[in-house]
Each structure stands twice: as C-alpha cells, then as structure tokens.
C-alpha cells in the first residue's frame, strides 16, 4: 500500500481504521483537518463506515451521541482547536448521560507550532479533559496505536464513558511551517 512505511509497517491511519472496524465503530463524523485527512479519506472509501462532515464539532458530537442511543457506535474526529469548542456539550451531554463518545483529536499547538493561537488552545485541552474526568491517551508511537485504540474503545463502551485519543506529532508528523528558501 502506498501509505505503508518502507519497512512494511502499516501507517497509523490504516491501523486506526482497522481497529475501529474490529470494534464495530460504524459512524464517523468530523470537522476537516489536514493531519487527519488520510484517516478521513480511508473512512470515506470504506462502505463499512458512514462518514460525513459536520459544520461544528458540537454537532458531530450530537450526531454520534444520537447514534449510540439508537444502537450504533461512532467516533468524532477533530483537531485541537475543535476540541476546545466542546466542554459544554461534554459536560452537559456525554458525561452526565454516560455516552461512550469516542474522540480522536489530532494535536496541534506543540512540537513546532508556528501559530500562537493554536499553541494557546492546545494548553487548554488536557486540563479540560482532566477536569471532566475523561479518559485520554496520547499516541506517540506507531507500535502502540492498535493496543491503545482498541482498549480505549472497549473501556469506553464497558464503562459508558467518553474517551479521547490524542494523536501527537511524533506519530503523525503534525503540521509544520514551510521554510522559506534562501
């Protein structure tokens, strides 16, 4: 596969897609993000998943929550700044109603960030998750992806609680500023 690593190891987004499938996560809603684009593209390409874009991350959370109430497990994909719009709906919907809301967040604002706005937003993410007691794990290594995503999903469902998986630049490469040529 073109996105495979030279040593034959599969890319992070291929692993995540397969683990979502193995866990019967059938719905994916998202607000577009550059780093997540290979995962979004792969989900769109696979008819196992119902995948669509929403106007806001809150809306994407509402759709996945409704689907769970109707018996379908889903995931919301977003970047750091999108997560920052969510504390109200997490605190008033996902947490108190005990919804296993899965969030996959591509982390911007650290490790080479070039936009101060993004850097400030990033600093709010983990404190917000911790303040609501939301289980979260940061993925930095490819060899941990399958295990962490699989166990996070199964725990979220078993304990009826939202959970977040944060994709760090060590894993994805992140987004960096293009250097000007001298």
């Amino acid at each position: 596969m073109s996105s495979a690593k030279p040593d034959g190891q599969r890319a992070w987004h291929e692993i995540i897609k397969d683990v979502l499938k193995e866990n019967n996560v059938r719905l994916a809603t998202y607000v577009p993000d550059n780093v997540l684009s290979p995962l979004i593209k792969a989900l769109h390409a696979d008819p196992f998943f119902t995948t669509f874009c929403c106007a806001r991350e809150e809306e994407a959370v509402g759709v996945v929550t409704g689907a769970w109430l109707g018996g379908t497990l889903g995931v919301v994909l977003m970047q750091t700044s999108g997560f920052a719009t969510l504390p109200n709906v997490l605190a008033s919907l996902a947490v108190p109603y005990q919804i296993p809301l899965l969030m996959i967040i591509s982390e911007r604002g650290t490790l080479g960030e070039f936009n101060l706005g993004q850097a400030m937003v990033c600093r709010t993410m983990r404190p917000a998750l911790e303040s609501m007691g939301i289980e979260n794990h940061t993925l930095r290594r490819l060899d941990e992806v399958a295990f962490v995503v699989d166990r996070t999903i199964s725990q979220a469902v078993s304990t009826q609680a939202p959970a977040a998986i944060i994709l760090n630049a060590f894993l994805t490469g992140g987004k960096v500023e293009k250097k000007k040529e001298n």
Partner: protein, 201 residues
C-alpha cells in the same frame, strides 16, 4: 425592518401543539426534546419511553435526532427545538440536507425569544425567518404551520412521506405546567430501552 412582515404569523399554543404531535405518534417514533421549555412541554405531554430530554448542550436536538435516525432508519425520528437553540447550530441544517435523512422530522417552536432566561428577544422576533434558513440550507420540505389544522396536516405528511421535514410554528410564551425530571442516566437508559437497544435487567 426587513423580515418583520414575513414573521407575522398566527401564534399558537406550544402546549396544545405538543399534545397534538404526541397524540399522533402510534409507531414508537423517537422524539428528541431540545433544552428549555421545549422539553418541559414534551415531558408534560406524557413520558413515552421513546422520548429523550436534553438538559444542556443547547442546539443539539437536531444533530442528536439525526444520529438516532441514522442508527434506526426504519423508525421515524422527531427533533423538537426552540428558535434560539436553532440559531446556535444553523449549520446542522445543511448537514441534514446533505444526508437527505428520509426518516427525520424537525419541528421548531418559535416564540422569537429566549424564554427560559427571561424572554430576551431573539433575532427570530424580527429579521430571521427559520423556514427561510432551512430552505436556504437545502431542506426542500420546509414549512410554516399557518394554523392548528395545517400543523396537523404537515405532521401527518411528515410521519408518512419521505423527509427530511422541517416544520416551524410561531408559538406563545406560556410557561409549561410540568418540569422535566432531571435525571440524565434514567432518561438515557429509558430511551435506549424504548428504542429496543437495551432490555430491562
């Protein structure tokens, strides 16, 4: 003021129309009640197991209803939302139109005000026409209910024809007689059982 004329419509009773709507539900249709007096009124109209009552997350009644409709395509799903809540998530209308979700019915109770916070006027009191918003978002079956009989007719169509339907009503500001019992876990579990997702232990 632009839009003022178009927003002069017959004002009806939210309590009466909520009862009329619930009275028409014979096939275990799911109903998502948006926050505020919208869901107090739904609670007061009788606590069906297929009713879901929101306690926060203002503006998410239609997105939640869309999610239920995707998960259960053979069940009709109705979202009840206030005009102020709708203004918070106008983008969701375009998402719903893009998906052309056939089993989804959206009802907006429009009193032109943020009633529960003290009746401050919303933009819907003057310039914003919510049916105009819905049509411009791609929802073709979008209508203002002209009177009670027309509301009945629109709901009958929405429960039998392919949607998505968007039905808006200018409603009064009367305070609901009942208040939703605010127990989110009980609300969620009862709803999931009502939808056949879970069985009673």
């Amino acid at each position: 003021m632009p839009g003022t004329e178009s927003n002069e419509r017959k004002v009806m009773s939210r309590a009466e129309l909520t009862r009329r709507l619930v009275g028409k539900l014979k096939n275990e249709e799911a109903v998502i009640g948006g926050i505020g007096w919208t869901n107090f009124e739904l609670w007061g109209a009788g606590q069906r197991p297929q009713n879901f009552y929101m306690l926060g997350s203002m503006g998410l009644a239609f997105p939640i209803a869309l999610g239920v409709a995707i998960a259960q395509p053979n069940r009709r799903v109705i979202g009840l939302e206030g005009d102020g809540s709708l203004l918070m998530q106008v983008g969701a209308l375009g998402t719903i139109a893009s998906r052309n979700q056939k089993n989804l019915v959206m009802v907006v109770w429009d009193n032109g005000a943020y009633q529960i916070t003290g009746g401050q006027p919303a933009a819907t009191a003057t310039v914003v026409d919510v049916v105009g918003l819905a049509r411009a978002s791609g929802l073709e079956k979008s209508y203002w209910a002209k009177d009670e009989a027309h509301f009945d007719e629109l709901i009958d169509r929405a429960l039998s024809e392919d949607g998505p339907f968007f039905i808006a009503v200018k409603i009064d500001s009367a305070k609901p007689a009942a208040t939703t019992h605010r127990d989110p876990v009980q609300i969620r579990e009862r709803f999931m059982r009502g939808l056949g997702v879970r069985e009673a232990i």
